[in-house]
Symmetry: C2
Subunit: 364 residues, 2 copies
């Protein structure tokens, strides 16, 4: 086997090794099917079992109530940025409330403006998106079509410790980069979606958990694949779904249930991993500078800076030399970023923490 | 290794075994990358090389002119059914011309009607879609926004021997089930698209070959992922693309170029395979009844009937018992259908032909 490094990429990101090994084993001939998982008909009993298990696993992990659909769609989070206002805002005569906490909510609100009236409830640009708003900073419109947040901003590394109170308005949440990383009270959401390539599987499938009353709102003048109602009625099989990506989601959720033991356990491990890195930053006496304020820190993406570009380059090069890879921060924040999703093993984070301590000692 | 059968599924469909073996080999650790192909960043040099090679291969195979973009999108053919009229019909003040030759053009024209004015130029329903129209049956509107055809109807097994003359109007073609199966003069098309899961790779990626003047037509009030112009400017990397599916498209097009030797060679093999089955049907003295008229017969999907449902069931069961699988026809046509895409080996078709001759002898 080729060498595997510790991959701190923000996504596509690290997957559990047992998941990769299972997918590899079945890639030429899926047991009992006589053909590869890539060649199996989406109308076959074999695939029916796979997609039903993937859905059942997500329902079980989150405790998804009966009045919610779990859909597997294509197009990533950015297609949802368009579909949400196409289905729930356009022709509603209402305004949608967006809370802008970083790159992805900024992008989502811009996409929504092509479809209807958007109000920015709060915008964190003054602090270069280093925190989520406090409860008292948020005044939602009780007549809004919906209120929109991103639970975890991948680029800025800011995460809501818990969802804000939006009153009676449907809460829409982009959970792409913290999906399945901790328990979430789904009943507080109207719609929660996540592309797979951070915590749930490979790029190419997006999970949408949507409440029945929102499904019912879809207008009739939309192409079928862009219409939540039609898509939900077709049970994600309106056309050929991304079969392989859904199969990997099934394997990852199997792993979460059976190897990890559920989302409480996963969250505990994730908190432990994040604490190691934030402690290394906080105890460095300013050698490493955190981007996010303490109360808004992400358990998934840990951005931090060093005092100069030169030192940052040195850090990245020396880290890569010991197989700690993909640690470069996004250009809008700069510095470094460690993405430590579910599948990043504790040993990988320990190794990074030790490297950080050592590097600070030598260069501080 | 688990047993592999001959899989005549209409899609997701058979893939070349060397492609599956290569994908399997790299699934845990891609050579030189230190992580799985599923975990590689879409912004990495490794993936950049993969997507560029996939595009270059398609350009080389089809001889795609310089003034065409090759895009890798999500959402399958059905998202294109919506995107084409959203980008090229809505707000154009024009009508779009659709030629309805089977299930997929019927569906495409219905989706287009949600976005604008559609004219059905010809509809083959009288013959239950058993042929493509003759040149003299087609009168295209010289002021149409575009003229739309499906080069090969997967369900009915009817295929245009060559594209109709649509005058100066942009010709749009759904080539999902005959993509890369024969040479095509791309310069005669405005836009040609194909989902991957028949001839090009796994489900989850759709190739769109689009001329620059059509790219330029996209209106500004569309979400970015649904806008050809924005998507083309982003070079298919507007958001995370389905990286694994694109990687398999690269492997399949490598195979077409290097193992098969190009589309002329592929077409020759495909004609030979199709002829074997059509000869078996034609020489059966009515035991097997073809669906499509001779001049419209598909080289990819071969639907045929037996005299009763009972005999059809017997045929399917006995075929499956000797590993000739997925031969059931679609309910709208009935009977049987053998999908014999590029990756179906000649031996698989020979085995089916021999089985058909033997079955007719025993049951005729």
């Amino acid at each position: 086997m080729e060498k595997r490094v510790y991959n701190f990429s923000p996504g596509p990101a690290v997957l559990p090794v047992p998941v990769l090994e299972a997918a590899q084993r079945d890639l030429v001939a899926f047991p009992g099917a006589g053909c590869s998982i890539l060649e199996i008909s989406h109308r076959s009993k074999t695939f029916d079992k796979i997609i039903n298990e993937a859905e059942a696993n997500i329902r079980k992990l989150y405790g998804v109530p009966e009045n919610y659909r779990v859909l597997f769609m294509q197009g990533g989070a950015i297609l949802q940025f368009g579909m949400i206002p196409m289905n729930l805002l356009r022709n509603s005569g209402k305004t949608a409330d967006y809370v802008v906490t970083g790159t992805w909510t900024k992008k989502a609100s811009a996409e929504a403006k092509t479809q209807g009236s958007v109000r920015i409830v709060w915008d964190g640009k003054e602090g270069n998106y280093n925190r989520v708003p406090k409860a008292e900073e948020l005044k939602f419109d009780p007549n809004a079509a919906y209120a929109y947040i991103c639970s975890n901003e991948t680029i800025q590394g800011v995460q809501y410790p818990r969802e804000p109170d939006v009153g009676g308005v449907p809460l829409i949440c982009d959970s792409s980069s913290d999906f399945l990383s901790r328990p979430v009270p789904i009943e507080k959401y109207g719609l929660l979606f996540a592309c797979a390539q951070k915590n749930a599987g490979p790029a190419g499938v997006t999970t949408v958990i949507i409440r029945d009353d929102l499904v019912a709102r879809s207008p009739e003048d939309l192409p079928s694949l862009l219409n939540y109602k039609v898509f939900a009625e077709g049970k994600s099989l309106l056309n050929t779904p991304p079969t392989f990506a859904i199969y990997v989601v099934k394997l990852v959720t199997d792993w979460l249930l059976n190897t990890i033991g559920g989302l409480e356990k996963m969250a505990e491990i994730n908190r432990k991993k994040a604490r190691m890195l934030y402690d290394a930053v906080d105890q460095s006496k300013g050698f490493y500078l955190p981007h996010a304020e303490s109360a808004s820190r992400s358990m998934m993406n840990v951005p931090f800076k060093l005092s100069s570009d030169e030192l940052t380059q040195k850090f990245l090069a020396e880290a890569a030399a010991v197989d700690l890879c993909e640690l470069k921060g996004h250009r809008s924040v700069g510095g470094c970023r460690a993405s430590i999703y579910n599948a990043m093993p504790v040993e990988g984070v320990e190794k990074l923490r030790d490297f950080m301590l050592d590097f600070a000692k030598k260069n501080g």
